[in-house]
Symmetry: C2
Subunit: 135 residues, 2 copies
């Protein structure tokens, strides 16, 4: 088991975390996820952590990292299925998962992503760069 | 890690197998899945095995069992993401996964389920039992 599978579902990517995220696995997941976002043009990333019963600051940081990276790649991240004990631990650790959206389950997460993507289609500010039109 | 999470997505259930299915875990998965089919009225079960690189006759039997149980509960089973080596091994083991539908990835599996559910809405043959109408 050297990598966590990433499932493409329409314009979203779904990741189910079922094992402990040790260093190398977490880095591989970050890499794979960003590569997939880039390759598929996914607009949302759903991370299901319903099987995660123990959380530490490392795990919290990884989730934050993934959310930050995805946002730079123009994709929203929603963490779903968090167990109550995990939420308690995260807050006690002082990790409020800034920039990470959460939802109770995958279906609600999908709805949230749909609404986010629906709302965030405002015109982007074009940076005025040199006219490098290569047509 | 004592159980594999089952994600409900609309009228389908999605299971991602990322770990080796030893005896107890497989039985728990079978139980959980059938309970979920019953509780949610799911019409399809998607099993993603893209992270499974080694398969044995036990795994083949478990997939067959799940498909048989689901069919009795009026749900179709589609196995997706099978690695080529796994397909080779299954055939060499003489396991042709009868009754299990397969698709290349989750998206194609979803399409297959949609088409199956669309097709299979033919009227069921009612068994002529005693008239136990409790209205």
């Amino acid at each position: 088991m050297d990598r966590i599978p990433i499932l493409k579902m329409g314009s979203f990517l779904l990741v189910t975390i079922q094992v402990d995220l040790y260093d190398r696995l977490a880095l591989t997941l970050e890499n794979d996820l960003i590569t997939m976002v880039s390759r598929t043009g996914a607009k949302g990333v759903l991370i299901d952590i319903s099987a995660v019963s123990i959380v530490d600051s490392f795990m919290g940081r990884i989730l934050g990292n993934i959310a930050s990276m995805s946002r730079i790649m123009d994709a929203e991240t929603v963490v779903v299925g968090m167990q109550p004990a995990v939420a308690i631990t995260l807050v006690e650790l002082g990790l409020t998962l800034q920039g990470v959206h959460t939802a109770l389950d995958v279906e609600k997460g999908m709805e949230l992503l749909h609404s986010k993507i629906g709302i965030t289609d405002e015109p982007e500010e074009d940076e005025e760069g040199p006219d490098d039109s290569n047509d």
